[in-house]
């Protein structure tokens, strides 16, 4: 129960941060859009049902979409990374060790290298798909490549900063 409340509050905070702070930052360049909201999907617990993960991804994306007036634009990439996430985690986590007993992905529960890879791949996938959809509507190849690279870098930076700022207690799953 406590956990569900925690995740709902986190959801609201991520959306509020994206809509009211990050979307209002004065633009530095066309390619640089700071996205952080999808970190919510990355921080969901290991043992979440795949179907619910998809639904949560969709709801997160569509909520942001209604604030920015583009229904479907952010929802589609969120569903995609929610779909890929379990496969990626299975690949990256050593199955035989005790590390599976942590609740959610973090530096401590997965180790520096696997966690960074996990964050990088999902961030890249998210931005690649997001910009691809934008690119199909308008724009040229340079816009596509530049924006994917720039937004991915900015997002990784933001994720790094938020990992440093908000130290999450790496909780063990209470199984006993």
């Amino acid at each position: 129960m406590n956990n569900i409340v925690k995740y709902i509050i986190r959801f609201i905070l991520f959306i509020a941060l994206q809509v009211f702070v990050l979307n209002n930052i004065p633009p530095l360049h066309q390619f640089i859009v700071p996205y952080l909201y999808f970190l919510y999907i990355l921080w969901l617990p290991f043992n979440i049902n795949r179907f619910f993960l998809l639904i949560i991804g969709f709801v997160l994306g569509i909520t942001l979409d209604y604030f920015s007036g583009t229904p479907g634009l952010h929802a589609a990439p969120c569903v995609l990374i929610a779909f890929i996430r379990p496969f990626l985690l299975n690949l990256l986590i050593p199955q035989e060790t005790t590390e599976q007993s942590y609740v959610e992905p973090s530096i401590k529960s997965m180790g520096w290298a696997p966690y960074s890879l996990y964050v990088f791949l999902l961030t890249f996938t998210h931005h690649f798909y997001l910009v691809l959809i934008e690119w199909l509507q308008f724009g040229n190849i340079l816009f596509f490549l530049g924006k994917v690279a720039a937004t991915t870098l900015i997002s990784l930076l933001l994720i790094f900063v938020s990992e440093m700022l908000f130290f999450r207690k790496a909780k063990f799953r209470t199984n006993a």
Binding site: P26, P71, G72, A75, V79, F138
Partner: protein, 284 residues
Amino acid sequence: MKNIFLFIQNYFTFLCFLALQIFCIVMLSRNSLTHEAFFASTANEVTGKINKQFDNFYSYFRLKEINRQLTAENVMLRNELQSNFIVPDSSKKIVIDSLNRDSFNRYRKFNYLPARVVGSTVTLQTNFLTLERGSLQGVKKGMSVVSPEGIVGVVTEVSDNYCRVMSLLHRNSKVSAMLKNDLNAGSIEWDGINPYYLTLKNISKGAQVKKGDTIVTSNYSANYPPKIMIGTVADFAVDPTSNFYTLKVKTATNFFNLQYVYIIENARYAEQTMLENKKQKANE
């Protein structure tokens, strides 16, 4: 039959994934009416209310700029007051009031409705504003929106108490504009690069363009009243392969601190667009 169930069971998440993806893409293609019918109005209401709460708090930080804009506009309006002009005694007094028509058989074509901006973005490729005024307060789709400084955009979605405006800073926005001093018309678009600059295309090379020239809305637009400020020419390029100039236009409106805007109702909008669309059909 059993195999079908097994298939669905095995690939349940994948099928859900596909279904959600297709749903997203369908919503994204604006042509579909599903999005509008099921979601737009209620979702607009909810996000509008949340935006308003945030704006209540945020608006204090922009009071200074709003005051400056209002004073500038007041000065402009005061300069146009009747009392500033000396009229010979023999002249008739002309008063245009808000009645539908006056004794000179003039009709009111444009009507200004004030509205408060409760949400806006400038950093995306598709930027929208949310205004606190909806269909219950007389807003309809296609109405144009101007700020005290210049034009802002066109209403694209309306719910009961809120409406959503496609700003000039939207990759699909297109406004008919002209040079103020020699009335050459072209269309204003945004290339998505810099929210301070727009692009004016299709100005013929016969036009005399200088840096700093004023760009205003043209007479051809169904949404906008003619001769409303859009911006000034910042730079222009001569493309030897075409017969047109491409101008870089500095926006008059500052999209970063919009607080109060006017929604402009064109009483003959429906009539004009109906006629224009009819002509298009006959051409096909």
